[in-house]
């Protein structure tokens, strides 16, 4: 009966399935296996995903000090009770304290002790990248990021390669397509003093939050971006003003579906989250949530409790410390604890479940 179903209809149906299901369905028959493993299919699947609601495909990946990497499906934690699904990836060489550099289109970039790795947690494909030969090691405390350049259809990894000896700022850029590194000099700007850490990939650029000096010696928060096409820094977005005029003690960027997400926490333990889908200085922010967390946040702790996500049922996932995450329900001020395991969690990134392969052309990177 179904054998007479035209191939393009079978493809249409398969393209609607989540990546996780498709990985399983490689076992159905040879035709499906080759179809699902095809690069063009993965690309179409990603395009369809982006045309719809990204949130159901969003996950966290967290890295622990002993090299463990885990995926946290926070929506599943929300619906089903219990511990939900926390999966420990295997098939990837254990890296001591893997640094999470960034994620884009379902590919996660990690930094191990000797080199970078590009990994797709959904398909478990993993490649090690060669190290840059023009610098001994990239500055781990500097900026980093991983994202997509649509013009060259290439994924790029950006790392800080400045040496302390000269005052110039140097960035090392790796192109996944060419499999090689190069470096660029960046004309120094004062804001760079504040730029550090993982840049959030969004709309073709990496983003960081910094404070800049403006008129009358006042400091203003802005979002700076590194455009992956032009390979230049820009000051792109103003920062939303918090509801309550209190001192902000914590601020950061993230991703919510297709939007850029910014959160801030004030001294009176109010957490606010905002999202935007527009670009440019005229961009407007929509408030996602503004909640009083005094019941659960203890500001005397060293660890910064970070709101990571906002679930479809309106709960807020907050990373409490190196051992646990909580799901806070602002409607009734209750929260659920989730233990992250014995390996202390240091870093996280949001990623999408996709079929995109780190082997861009089907061949391994030399």
């Amino acid at each position: 009966m179904a054998e007479s179903m035209p191939e393009d209809i079978v493809v249409d149906i398969l393209l609607r399935l989540p990546a996780k299901s498709l990985v399983r369905f490689k076992c159905v028959c040879k035709r499906w296996r080759s179809l699902i493993s095809d690069r063009a299919f993965a690309k179409s699947h990603l395009q369809r995903l982006k045309a719809g609601d990204l949130i159901p495909s969003q996950r966290f990946i967290i890295s622990g000090c002993n090299g463990s990497l885990k995926t946290v499906d926070y929506e599943a934690l929300d619906d089903g009770g219990g511990e939900g699904r926390m999966v420990v990836p295997h098939g990837i060489k254990p890296l001591w304290e893997p640094r999470i550099v960034g994620s884009c289109d379902g590919l996660v970039c990690l930094l191990g002790p000797s080199n970078f790795v590009i990994y797709n947690p959904t398909t478990r494909e993993c490649i090690e990248l060669p190290g840059p030969n023009f610098v001994d090691r990239v500055r781990l405390s500097g900026v980093s990021g991983f994202g997509y350049d649509s013009q060259s259809d290439d994924y790029k990894l950006v790392a800080d390669a400045s040496s302390s000896s000269d005052g110039n700022w140097k960035l090392a850029i790796f192109s996944l397509k060419s499999g090689s590194w190069r470096s660029i000099e960046v004309p120094f700007q004062e804001e760079f003093n504040e730029l550090t850490g993982q840049g959030v990939y969004w709309k073709g650029a990496l983003h960081w939050h910094v404070y800049v000096l403006c008129m009358y010696d006042k400091r203003e928060g802005v979002i700076m971006s590194f455009d992956l096409l032009e390979e230049k820094f820009h000051e792109v977005l103003p920062v939303p003003v918090p509801e309550v005029d209190e001192d902000i003690c914590l601020l950061g960027l993230g991703i919510h579906g297709a939007n850029l997400f910014i959160y801030n926490c004030t001294h009176d333990r109010r957490i606010e989250g905002w999202i935007t889908d527009e670009y440019g200085r005229g961009a407007s922010w929509t408030k996602l949530f503004s909640v009083d967390c005094s019941a659960i946040i203890n500001l005397d702790r060293d660890f910064e409790q970070t709101p990571l996500a906002y679930t479809s049922s309106g709960k807020i996932v907050i990373w409490m410390d190196t051992k646990r995450m909580i799901m806070f329900n602002p409607k009734d001020n209750t929260c659920k604890d989730y233990l992250l395991g014995t390996d202390l969690v240091r870093e996280y990134a949001i990623y999408l479940e996709t079929l995109v392969s780190p082997y861009l052309d089907g061949g391994a990177v030399e």
Partner: protein
């Protein structure tokens, strides 16, 4: 007020259906053959039997009506109607897909394909083979290997 033109569609098993032209042209296939002047009267619809053609016509009528209703039918209501429309047995669903594909009715094809996708999302490969009556052409060793490669996806 425009006079509503009617056309007659002839199913593969010889049954006639008289419908408004505005409903019939929801099918790009039929629309094209009318515009080219190559459509006969009645317009033959091979490969689609009367049972399925009746359902397709029902779908097109509902969608044309709701698009031009004075007080617009709530989007939610239409979505609910669509959800009920596809509550049919699997064989009928697949026939509807084939009909929507042949007649080139995008929204119906979207609806039916999405329904099948939702149906199979959580199934095991074995269940999927049954749904699509696919022959498992892996040898036992090959199947074992593919499973092992993707073991974690089954956990």
């Amino acid at each position: 007020m425009a006079t509503s033109r009617k056309v007659t569609l002839l199913s593969s098993d010889g049954e006639s259906f008289e419908v408004e032209q505005s409903v019939a042209v929801e099918s790009i296939t039929i629309k094209d053959s009318i515009e080219e002047g190559s459509a006969g009267n009645p317009i033959p619809v091979p490969k689609v039997n009367s049972k399925i053609l009746a359902k397709v016509i029902e779908y097109c009528k509902k969608h044309v009506e709701s698009a031009k209703a004075e007080d617009r039918v709530d989007d939610e209501d239409l979505v609910a109607w669509d959800a009920d429309f596809v509550k049919v047995d699997q064989a009928t669903l697949f026939d509807l897909i084939r009909a929507a594909n042949f007649l080139n009715i995008k929204s119906l094809l979207d609806l039916t394909c999405q329904t099948v996708a939702d149906m199979i999302k959580g199934k095991t490969p074995e269940e999927k083979r049954k749904t699509f009556t696919i022959r498992n052409d892996f040898t036992p060793e090959e199947e074992e290997e593919v499973r092992r490669e993707n073991q974690w996806a089954f956990e």
